[in-house]
């Protein structure tokens, strides 16, 4: 379980996260939606310790993790914009991360096959297409079999086939009982993958609950309509 309590983040005068309270249940998939610039990525980066919150507590499995680093062992993270050392080949990158992790067991071979990266292994990262970089990011996030997986707009650069492969993998992980957190702008993806929905606007949580409740509440058949309605209510 990931708990955020009173999380606040200011970038200079700009408040990005405003007293955020959040609980992300274990063993389920939680989707985060919200307009651009609403603080989705900042929330994720705070959990990972990439962004240092101005105030507030972050707990993972009950343990306070602010300014700690060991807990990241449990997390696999796939960033929104995948940027990797340009001069490394894909193979070298995987080996390097394995070294950093102290040669933990990893299932990268199976993942490389799943995402069809075999032919890219010898290529340098800078020559890789955006989509293939995303796939490398996906492999990196999953290869150590972490309990928590965080995906930040994972399918944004993927072609339809890869996107289907990715979602298939995520469902597999869900069935294995992993905690999954993902942000996206594609509502059908949330519908397909997520059990819980979090709706963030301007650094505040506007909705947090199981998916089906939201759909009932708004009497909309599709999530897209329900979320669009919430955004409109917000703007009004």
């Amino acid at each position: 379980m990931i708990e955020l309590k009173g999380l606040k983040k200011n970038f200079g005068r700009l408040t990005v996260l405003d007293d955020l309270d959040l609980e992300i249940p274990s063993g389920q998939a939680t989707g985060i939606v919200g307009p651009n610039g609403s603080g989705k990525t900042t929330t994720i980066k705070s959990i990972l310790g990439l962004v240092k919150p101005t105030e507030g507590e972050i707990r993972i499995d009950g343990e306070l993790v602010n300014n700690r680093w060991e807990y990241r062992e449990k997390i696999g993270y796939m960033p929104q914009v995948a940027r990797y050392p340009e001069n490394m080949t894909v193979e070298e990158l995987f080996r390097f991360i394995k070294n950093i992790r102290g040669d933990q067991p990893s299932n990268e071979e199976e993942l490389i096959k799943h995402f069809g990266l075999e032919s890219e292994l010898k290529k340098r990262m800078r020559t890789l297409s955006g989509g293939n970089r995303q796939k490398v990011g996906a492999v990196l996030s999953m290869m150590f079999n972490p309990d928590i997986l965080i995906f930040d707009e994972p399918t944004a650069g993927l072609d339809p086939r890869s996107s289907v492969q990715f979602k298939k993998k995520v469902r597999e992980l869900k069935d294995q009982g992993k905690t999954i957190m993902l942000t996206t702008h594609i509502m059908s993806e949330i519908e397909e993958l997520a059990d819980h929905l979090i709706f963030i606007v301007e650094g505040k949580i506007k909705y947090h609950g199981p998916m089906d409740e939201l759909l009932n509440e708004h009497k909309e058949q599709r999530l897209e309509g329900a979320v669009a309605k919430m955004m409109e209510e917000e703007a009004a």
Binding site: F11, K45, R72, E73
Partner: protein, 263 residues
């Protein structure tokens, strides 16, 4: 352990970039030429130290900042891994500062070795020179890192400040000191002048060299004051201690900043 893995990768990357060999070659050629033309005496050592006092701060600061910008992807990748920020910082810093120091020391030492200069009576002076170069490299790479971190999103600013900082410390500072002496020459300004010298690590290194070679004519005003005030031995101790304090300063600032930064 993890820091070593990082260092290993960074060094491979530097070697692949090849410019580090160019940097070592510059020292090799200059030292060789100076020994050839000026003989293997203290004159050559002094000339080498003059080159070093200009070049090391410039390369250290500019490349320190540039290197951080180049390693941005690398840094972001590693921050999401179970890794202490402190380990990552020292991995990055050592990844640059160690090869830079090695390039300077090897480039300067090799010509001295094959010219038979190293094992003469000047060995103490040579070691002092190499030590000073090492401290200057570590120090100015640290300042470069600090500037790079302070202006992480604005490369032009970071590199600009590095360049201006070098220009100020290496060249303009002496002019300002001279101007102060010229304007306030009628007052007892020896002690403030001493303080002024200690505020500039390049000046401190220069004075250490001059005290070692005992060349009062070349010592300039601050050097002479230093000499008179402390005497040779204590002057040198004071200069070296101040330099070590100087070394700690940017590294402390940079680590502190790195620990608190958002990526």
């Amino acid at each position: 352990m993890k820091a070593l893995t990082i260092l290993n990768y960074q060094w491979k990357d530097l070697i692949r970039g090849k410019w580090i060999f160019g940097y070592a070659l510059i020292y090799l050629l200059i030292t060789d030429a100076l020994i050839r033309f000026g003989g293997a005496g203290p004159k050559a050592l002094l000339s080498i130290s003059n080159v070093m006092l200009l070049l090391i701060p410039l390369v250290g600061m500019i490349y320190g900042a540039l290197y951080l910008y180049q390693s941005r992807e690398f840094t972001e990748l590693l921050l999401a891994q179970p890794l202490d920020r402190k380990t990552l910082f020292w991995g990055l810093y050592g990844g640059l500062a160690v090869p830079l120091s090695a390039a300077f020391i090897l480039g300067t030492l090799l010509p001295m070795l094959y010219n038979g200069m190293f094992f003469g009576e000047q060995i103490a002076s040579i070691l002092l020179l190499l030590g000073l170069g090492l401290v200057l490299t570590l120090l100015f790479t640290g300042i470069g890192f600090w500037l790079g971190l302070a202006f992480f999103e604005d490369r032009i600013k970071g590199l600009g400040f590095a360049l201006v900082g070098w220009l100020f410390l290496a060249i303009l500072y002496d002019g300002l000191v001279l101007l102060t002496i010229f304007v306030l020459g009628d007052y007892p300004i020896e002690k403030p002048m001493l303080a002024l010298t200690m505020l500039n690590p390049i000046d401190l290194a220069r004075i250490t060299v001059l005290l070692e070679f005992d060349i009062s004519a070349l010592m300039g005003y601050t050097g002479a004051v230093f000499n008179r005030f402390f005497g040779n031995f204590y002057g040198m101790i004071t200069a070296v201690t101040s330099m070590l304090i100087w070394l700690a300063l940017p590294l402390y600032g940079a680590t502190k900043r790195f620990r608190k930064m958002d990526f």
